[in-house]
Symmetry: C2
Subunit: 340 residues, 2 copies
DNA sequence: CTGAAAGCGCTTACAG
DNA sequence: CTGAAAGCGCTTACAG
C-alpha cells in the first residue's frame, strides 16, 4: 500500500509521516499507539519519540470509523443554565475525560423537541447517550430503541424500556421533608409544585404526601409553581397573604423557596418561628446567610460517578444489564427550619 | 468498487444499502445528500425516501475525514457550574446547532492544565476552538498556534497572538459602576476584588479606579475576594465592621456582593440608605426581592451570537481577519443603589 | 446525470 | 516482530 497523496484541504501529520521518518510500515506506527499490540519495545519507543517530534497523534475519527468505537458520548440537556444541570454536566464531563471519553453536547431550548434533534448525535456515531433531566417522550424512546445503543437517563425514568436510569430519590426526599417538618412541630403543611411534565416533581410531592398521611395529617395544600423565582413569590403571596396560612412549606425546588422566603420577610413573617421552609436541590444561594434554607441535596457527584462507571463498563463489555440506580437525597438542616 | 463486507462490531445502515435498494451507485446516494451536487431531482427524491425508510443518514465522521471539515467545535471551559459560564455555554450550544455545528466539550477542573488537555480536541479534528473564561497560558497559546486552526477566546484576551477574542467590556463596566455611585452621592468608594489571575477582574478594577480619579476622588479602598460567597461575607465584615466604613462598594461579581449585603443586613446597615452596592454579572439571585442588586449585565446572547457568526464564517471561508469584539456591559439599576 | 475509482487516516487479520 | 493489504463509510474529480 502506498502513502496518501496530498490532501485537498489541509495537510495533517499522519501515521505515514511517522512511518516514513522511521523507515517502517505505517501499521507498525499504529501498533505503537495501541497498548494491546505486539511491537518491539525499542521500536515503540523510537516511534513514539519521532511522533512527538513531528506532532503526531492518531486521528480519533479515523480510528472510530474503523473500530466502531468513537469514544464520543452524546449528552443532551435542556437548560444547562439551571444550577443543577450545569453542576451535573461539569461533574459528568470531568469524569468522562478521566476515562478517555468525550462529551458531545446537544443542548436543547425548553421548546426544542429532543426526538427531532437526537439524530444529530447518531450521525456522529456516539457510543452512548446520556439524557440529563430531559422529558422522555414516546417518540424519543422509539428513536433511542431503534438506534440500538446504550442510553442513560439522569434524574428521569421511563419504565418498561431498555433505558438505564440513574437518579436522585425524589420520593424519599419528599418523605424526609414532611418528616422533618412534622418533627419540628409543624401543624399545617403546604406544597409548592413545579412544572407538570417533570416526573421528579410528582415523586417529590408523592413522598411528601405519603409521609404526611402516615403521620395522620390531612393532605397538604398545593400551590402551583414552575421552578422559577417569580413563581415562588406568587406562591408565597397566595399562601402567606391570606387566612389559613400554613406553618410549614415544602417547595419543589430551592429557587421557589427563596422567592417564598422573600415574601415572608416582606410580610414580617418570621422564619422559622412563624413559618418553616424546606426546598429541594441545595443550590448555592440556599446556604447564603440571608436565607439559610433547609433543603434536600442531590448527590450529583455520585450520580455522575455512577454514570461514568456504567459508560466505562459498556465500552469494555458492549452491553450491561439494565441499571436503575436511585441515589438518596440528603437533608441539609439549616435555619429555615431550625433556630440556632 | 464493491460494497463493503460485514462489519466486525456492528452493522450500520450505509450508503451502499440505500444504493443497492435503489439500484444505483453509492456515489449517487452521496450526491443526493449533498445540496451542491448534480443529481436528477426525481432520483434524489427517490433515494431520500428509501434512505428514510431504511433509517439511513450519512456518517458525519466519514464525511469529516474526507472533507477535512468535521463540523465539530471544541469548547473548553473551567467551571461550567458558574452561572455565567453555564449560561454562555447554553447560548453558544443552541447557536451552534442552528448552523449545524456541534460542540465537543472539554471541561476542566480549576486545577486542570488546559495546555495539557487541549490535544484531546485536536485528535477529534475539531474545526475550531472556543475557550470560555479560561486562563490563557503561554503554553496554551503555543499549542493553539502550532495547531493552526481558528481559536476564539470568550471573555479573555491574549494580546499579540492570532486568537480571536469576544468579550464583555469589563473596563467600561467598572467605569459605569463608579459613575453611577458617584452620581448618587457616594463619598467614599471601596472595591472587592476577585481572583488575581482573572484578567477581567483587573479591567473592572481599572475602569472603576479611572472613573473615580476622573471625578476627583481618592483611590478606593480594595479588599481581596475570590468570587465565592464566603469571600464576600469576609469582605463585608472587613469593610463594614470597623471604622472608616465606605458608603459605596463595587464588587467584582454579584455573588460576593450578595455576601456583603447579607453582612450589612446582619449589622443593621441600611441599603441603599447607609450603603450602596453594585455587583457584576447580573446572576439570577441579583434580582431576588431580598437583594435587588444593581449590577452590570453581560450581554451573553450577543457574545454567543457573535461567536456563532464568526464560526459560521470560518466554515465558509477558511480564514477571517482577526476579531476583537468588545460587547458593552449594561448597568441594571436596582434598589441596592436606588430607593423606590 | 450516473458509474467506477481513488482516497481520508486509521486498525487488524494474515503472511512471513 | 514487521509488512502488505483490505476495509471503515463516505466525497469528489474523472469519464462516459
Amino acid at each position: 500500500m502506498s502513502p496518501p497523496k496530498d490532501h485537498r484541504f489541509r495537510r495533517r501529520v499522519t501515521a505515514w509521516d511517522v512511518a516514513r521518518a522511521a523507515g517502517v510500515n505505517q501499521s507498525v506506527v499504529s501498533r505503537a499507539f495501541n497498548a494491546g499490540s505486539r511491537v518491539a519495545p525499542e521500536t515503540r519507543e523510537r516511534l513514539l519519540a519521532i511522533a512527538k517530534e513531528l506532532g503526531y497523534a492518531p486521528n480519533a475519527l479515523a480510528r472510530g470509523l474503523l473500530t466502531g468505537r468513537t469514544r464520543l458520548i452524546g449528552i443532551t440537556t435542556v437548560q444547562i443554565n439551571s444550577e443543577i444541570s450545569s453542576r451535573l454536566l461539569q461533574n459528568l464531563g470531568l469524569g468522562l475525560l478521566s476515562v478517555d471519553l468525550h462529551p458531545l453536547l446537544l443542548p436543547l431550548s425548553p421548546q426544542g423537541v429532543l426526538a427531532d434533534e437526537i439524530h444529530r448525535l447518531f450521525t456522529f456515531d456516539v457510543d452512548a447517550l446520556v439524557l440529563v433531566s430531559a422529558a422522555i417522550s414516546p417518540a424519543l424512546v422509539e428513536a433511542c430503541t431503534a438506534w440500538g445503543r446504550p442510553v442513560i437517563l439522569l434524574n428521569r425514568v421511563a419504565p418498561g424500556h431498555r433505558l438505564h436510569s440513574i437518579r436522585t430519590d425524589d420520593y424519599g426526599g419528599g418523605r424526609l421533608a414532611a418528616q422533618h417538618l412534622l418533627e419540628r412541630g409543624a401543624q399545617s403543611l403546604a406544597f409548592v409544585s413545579g412544572p407538570a411534565d417533570a416526573t421528579n416533581v410528582q415523586a417529590r410531592r408523592d413522598g411528601f404526601f405519603a409521609a404526611a398521611e402516615a403521620a395522620g395529617q390531612p393532605p397538604p395544600r398545593i400551590v402551583a409553581g414552575d421552578f422559577a423565582y417569580p413563581s415562588g413569590v406568587v406562591a408565597g403571596r397566595t399562601l402567606l397573604g391570606g387566612p389559613g396560612r400554613p406553618d410549614a412549606v415544602f417547595c419543589a425546588n430551592d429557587v421557589m423557596a427563596l422567592g417564598l422566603m422573600d415574601v415572608a420577610r416582606e410580610l414580617g413573617i418570621r422564619i422559622p418561628g412563624d413559618l418553616q421552609v424546606v426546598g429541594f436541590d441545595d443550590i448555592t444561594a440556599a446556604s447564603f446567610a440571608g436565607y439559610s434554607l433547609t433543603t434536600l441535596r442531590h448527590d450529583l457527584d455520585i450520580v455522575a460517578a455512577e454514570t461514568v462507571a456504567l459508560l466505562a463498563d459498556l465500552q469494555r463489555d458492549g452491553e450491561a444489564s439494565l441499571v436503575d440506580r436511585v441515589v438518596s437525597a440528603r437533608l441539609i438542616d439549616r435555619r429555615s427550619t431550625h433556630d440556632l
